[in-house]
């Protein structure tokens, strides 16, 4: 197990959500999903709501549904700043499904809706549902 790891943390305004050693992190960037390995160049990414996955040194994966935010790659560490973060077991699947449906309906109507807001709500709901699939597994 000589694979290199780096320090990974997820911060929200409410708390330090997670702090672990990670082998890699796969995150939903605004311009597409990307993967961070050890030794990545210093970078700042804008994130959109979506599923984030990281691999622990012992090979297990951690899944987190994150909201809009940023990912900062520094020399020895990677930090995610996000408006919200939830583990699979914290997600209320029914609520997320309802939110998804609501957002879709609103996007269909197209008139008189705050489009970007509905879009963001939809992204958040989809992210939650995706991450919730991993509940009980992986962790």
């Amino acid at each position: 197990m000589a694979e290199k790891t780096f320090q990974f943390e997820i911060l929200t305004l409410q708390r330090e959500f997670l702090r672990e050693e990670a082998r890699f992190v796969i995150a939903p960037g605004q311009e597409g999903v990307f993967e961070i390995l050890t030794g990545h160049a210093p970078f700042v990414f804008a994130l959109k709501p979506g599923p984030l996955r990281m691999r622990l040194p012992e090979g297990k994966d951690v899944h987190v549904a994150i909201g809009t935010g940023f990912l900062i790659v520094q020399k020895e560490s990677v930090t995610v700043l996000t408006r919200s973060a939830e583990r699979p077991e914290e997600i209320d699947i029914e609520r997320a499904a309802r939110a998804k449906q609501r957002a879709e309906e609103r996007l269909q109507k197209r008139e008189d809706v705050d489009f970007s807001r509905a879009q963001a709500a939809l992204e958040r709901a989809i992210a939650r549902l995706k991450v919730a699939e991993h509940s009980g597994k992986g962790l």
Binding site: L13, E31, T68, F70, S84
Partner: protein, 288 residues
Amino acid sequence: MPSTRDIRRRIRGVKNIRQVTKAMNMIAAARLRRAQTKAEAARPYAERLSAILQDVFASGASARHPLLAQRPVKRVGLVVVSSDRGLCGSFNAGILREAGRFVEEQTADVGLITVGRKAREFFQRMEITIDQSFPQPSREVRLEEVGAISKQIITDYTSGKYDQIHLAYARFISVLKSEPTVTQLLPIPKPETDGAAAVARMVAYQFEPEAEELLGALLPQYVEVLAYGSLVESLASEQAARMVAMKSATDSASDMIDALTRKYNRVRQTAITTQILEVVSGAEALEE
């Protein structure tokens, strides 16, 4: 001279009040602790976010984002953060005084945006127009509640309704001290690219999306975090003020009970003395 029964009734009344103020004192203390924890938990996040902002600026991205644009100031927006509830000493009075001073100092028109019932009622009583009012966020200070306020502020700024937006809130210093403060929210004051710090952090970051586009995502979040921080601090200041006010109310009630008890004893003694005198003089009259 009040009767002993009147005094006893008053003592009972004051005791009941003391019980209430004491309970409020303890509740405020617990809520203060929670608000302080919240403020501390948000600090690393806020620091990291403003560090990114500085890095973006340091990268030389021409900062032409609308939220940074300085415009000639024709109308200023002032967000006044008060509380929904009273019984917290001079907390709201302090904020409103500071807000009033700010309005006087401005040469431009000032539009008011109130947060919390107390500020709204105050300006309504003074018959000053309020552009918009928000309720005070719940004690959890949820991000959605803050987001609603910060989004509105950003829209009002970009639409040109205000050319500058300031925020008046009670900065939390310690349990015994909070300071009504007015800070500028928009346009976002450019962080000073302090020479030494900039060199120390001379890691050249790359950005995705490009720095300028990233700024578009970053700045609204930054405003939201600033608003969140102020609202949490205001909550901590309110609870601290209430805690202190209720402590002194409890102490006053105790003093009052002491004074009333002394009076009660004196009245009671006088009454007994009078009665004895009456009995004795009655007996003496019979003996003669």
